[in-house]
Subunit: 335 residues, 4 copies
């Protein structure tokens, strides 16, 4: 059994992770932490959750665990990673701390000196489908952001091909409210969200933009810029990204489709939808899957890509990474 600790279990991602690990046949939860709600049980914080005792992070016993999941605010995550790694635990970080390989970029976007810049080189970017091979030996995995997961899985086959692209890529994304966290804010008040749909931090203003552009840069030289427009959707969970790419030359749709089918052939969690179908939240909520559809209109390729932000966009992909790190079948506990 993999013994797992969860730091920061009282957010939506932490709760989802608890649920996934509780039904996972090869993992068990050693501890769950909360700074603000310690001494309560998880069931006091979430109706219907398991009655696990919450402890403050400092009281969690790292001796008992093989892996820790960090569902902490940025900076706090990196600090905890340092502690956990030196205690011999492997770390899957669901915060942003190890996603960007460049400390200066991190500090520009997160307005914080990186607490552990020496670990950046070692951290594996945990988009499982992409970096699967690096996971078995990894000590530290940076679980990708939710928006980047939906956008990058959709773009990767195209970017790795030799089809030329012109101009910026536009990623118009819509996310359910759990993506905004459980903290209190007028932004997430039911009356403000229900019956509403609202863009925020559009253009080049959201912190997930540099994460996307970093990966795009890995996959293609002279990488296109991304225009990223997130919107808040009146649903609890799910992300749909509608992505517009101007192709520099005529391409037939069948060629594109073949590219994607080949890229994701055999992938248990990526569904390339048949021609004529478009991705929607209904394809993926409450699953670890990513549904991707291609629509070609003249030279504009429209990709629609859907995930559950809490599962494939966070806790599910973290468990998927854990499975690979520990030599288990990648789908264990996730179907």
């Amino acid at each position: 059994m993999i013994r797992a600790g969860i730091y920061g279990a009282t957010g939506y991602t932490g709760l989802e992770l608890v649920k996934l690990l509780q039904r996972h046949p090869a993992a068990e939860i050693a501890f769950v932490t909360s700074q603000s709600q310690a001494s309560k049980r998880l069931s006091d914080v979430f109706p219907g959750a398991p009655a696990l005792p919450l402890v403050v992070g400092e009281d969690a016993s790292l001796d008992e665990v093989d892996v820790v999941f960090l569902c902490l605010p940025h900076a706090a995550a990196a600090e905890t990673a340092l502690v956990a790694l030196s205690a011999g635990a492997r770390v899957i970080d669901l915060s942003a701390d190890f996603r960007l390989r460049d400390a200066a970029t991190y500090e520009q976007w997160y307005a914080h000196t990186h607490p552990a810049p020496d670990l950046l080189d070692e951290a594996v970017y945990g988009l499982t489908e992409v970096n699967r091979a690096c996971l078995p030996g990894a000590r530290l995995v940076a679980n990708p952001g939710c928006y980047p997961t939906s956008v990058l899985l959709a773009l990767r086959p195209l970017l790795l091909s030799d089809i030329a692209i012109s101009g910026p890529i536009i990623a118009d994304s819509a996310s359910g409210v759990s993506g905004a966290g459980r903290g209190l804010s007028l932004t997430t008040h039911f009356v403000e969200v229900a019956d509403n749909y609202s863009p925020y931090k559009i253009g080049r203003a959201h912190r997930h933009l540099p994460e996307m552009e970093q990966a795009v840069g890995w996959w293609r030289e002279a990488a296109p810029a991304i225009i990223f427009s997130p919107h808040l959707l009146p649903v609890p969970r799910g992300i749909l990204s509608t992505i517009y790419v101007n192709l520099a030359e005529e391409v037939v749709e069948a060629e594109l489709r073949a590219l994607y089918t080949a890229a994701y052939d055999g992938e248990p969690f990526v569904d390339v939808l048949p021609a004529g179908e478009l991705a929607s939240l209904a394809h993926v909520t409450h699953t670890n899957r990513c549904a991707i559809a291609l629509t070609l209109t003249g030279r504009t390729l429209i990709l629609t890509s859907a995930i559950d932000n809490l599962i494939k966009g966070a806790a599910g992909q973290a468990v998927q990474n854990m499975n690979v790190m520990f030599g288990h079948p990648e789908t264990l506990g996730l179907l």
Copy 2:
């Protein structure tokens, strides 16, 4: 023109009142106050709202106004009422401060010494359909609570009749989230409310209970007790009360229907629905109406009663009261 001031304009009730008064042909808004957001405009606080400047209550000029509406927390409302009345303004209080005629009951339920007990006798309980005759001369009107409005309009014809009732009356009510206010609380977080339905303060625990029982006591000696079970509904606005009354004797439905039809004949804002129809939020949201339906099953009378909590349950009824107080047609600006 009636010159009106609104204290506490940055809650949902305040905003609704602003909208109603802006389209009212015989009223104009003299000022809107906010303690926390003063110096902003209302449009900074609510997208799409009019750009009225917000001032702190202390800076509002009472000289210019004929009437003030108090959308303030309890106790603060009574204190402001004292100031406004002595400046010569008439007062429509949307808080709970003058709803209960007995200061001791108030203090028991609101855990606060009443700031103006001497005004309690004078205050008119502003359930317009009931106390219409007292409004033209009123200086101070206590606008009813939202739940009591839905329950009391449904019960009154029965209670004023000589049909005997046995046992307690059960009022099972469901309210949209605007009823919980715009303050921040996990209770109103979108993810907690959406896809959920949850009872709270059921039995004899909610502050609207004594308000209901007070009116029931006016209308019938040896008044039945009320069991009141509010629930939070994943909608922005609206209240539906499903009310169960055990009749002590056999009554035919036609007699009950005649009772209600007669009671509300000519009432512009109370709709007694035809046999076979039941009240729902769709009948009333975004209107000042109350829809009431009767269903008789054996000796159990089930009343369903729906209002928009922000309109007939608050701002709309306040304007209805203002219309009567100032000698205008009761429906002015409300259709």
Copy 3:
């Protein structure tokens, strides 16, 4: 492995059953049927569903199966049950056909001659917690209705006690829209349901009433009548029942609580909530659990009881029954 066939897989209950059986470690799906969508795959009908081929019921091979689940309209279910039983399969019927033991009552409520009255005596009413002992030998199980599951689990410990009750029991229930099925009707149009809350068939008019009263009659002589008021809730899934019982004598809450705790001690899927907590949909959606809370106010006991209508109220309880029928741990595949 239990080989299972599903008749009527293209409704919401059928889909839920497919999902549960696909992740069940001891069951496999032999066939899924649909009369209207045969020759399609299930994934053509539901985005993201498994790509199982749909066949018409007549083409399903009963030789290959140990058990069939009937997610069919009433009458069609009983007819299929006859065929399946004679082919040697065990039957779990999710329709109403075998819930009422009395054919005349069935015919009164369902306006249809019962197609298989001779089987009524044999059918086990599959409220698992109640009839667990009868399941291992059962050939035919009548899976309970969704509303009755939520109401009966809440009432049973009280009814089996010697605490006297006076007057009718009132069950005020709210259900998510999946309870209304996937057929097309203005009642389930998004615009009619969203922002709405509406009662329907209240009093003694809903088909689940005789099912509830039948069980109440098993548990108590001179059984109280039930007043049952269902409401349509703007959520996809979940049922909350708020149940009012007038106790004929003074009882202390601790005694009631002890009764319920004892009754459900060790039950994996029934949670008696601690004092001060109330049941809500959030406790149970996407699980096979029933959450029950007790609130005593004077002599009125208010029970709040929540289930997921598609799981504990349908497909989940069916799998729970299957587990017991086939000698597996009751929770297998359901946690």
Copy 4:
């Protein structure tokens, strides 16, 4: 008083029109028609609606009316327009029949021979802010589509400027479900829409595309193509369009902002939002307003534009047009 008839009053647009005309101080409703629900009253069809008698279109008396509103399916609208015009009534058509000036384009997109091609030249495209001057003399007004209203008001100032554009314009739009009408379809089933977000007819496949491109062609030579991606949003009403335009040259945001401020200065129903704000449904639902915001990122201009699809996108703009046609203040009955 303007005497108005409404053809097709039992859809969402028809109902909204009834509500607007009922509170309009200078208009009265002469008749409301329905082919399928004739002999009922409107209140039988919509809970809470006025109890107007529904007649079949053939029985509507055109003698009594000054203007008719056509909320009919395409083709049926044009046929009724012919009848109404020859009876001397003015016509505001809310269908697509007279929006496209070219009969061949109409026939290509609507798969129907145009029933009244001779009227196409005469019809005024009723985007009020644009064609206000043509309305007083108009006999026949083609009320714009909902998506085109949101997109065209946002694009027009830019297109009329001399700022060069490169590549296609991308309009990524999200609409509430009332835009899909009240007809029955799995697409609008509550359970399919709630918690979902789904693109449909994206690229160059939706019938509102030629309407948008026609107007773009009026405003700019060598007009850019439009890529239009509608999405279905789990809300009853509202459209948000997020529009991406690649500018061919560097422009400073202040210049763009000045362009828009000037274009819409004094417009009662178009709000150009201040820098830093983005348009959302909350700005506009239940109003006749269009909120437009500008965000410049490098050479990409992102316009966010929000309307209520039933009001500014349909019934409200129709009344706005009526006001101008009959010489009333444009805002009459619409504030």
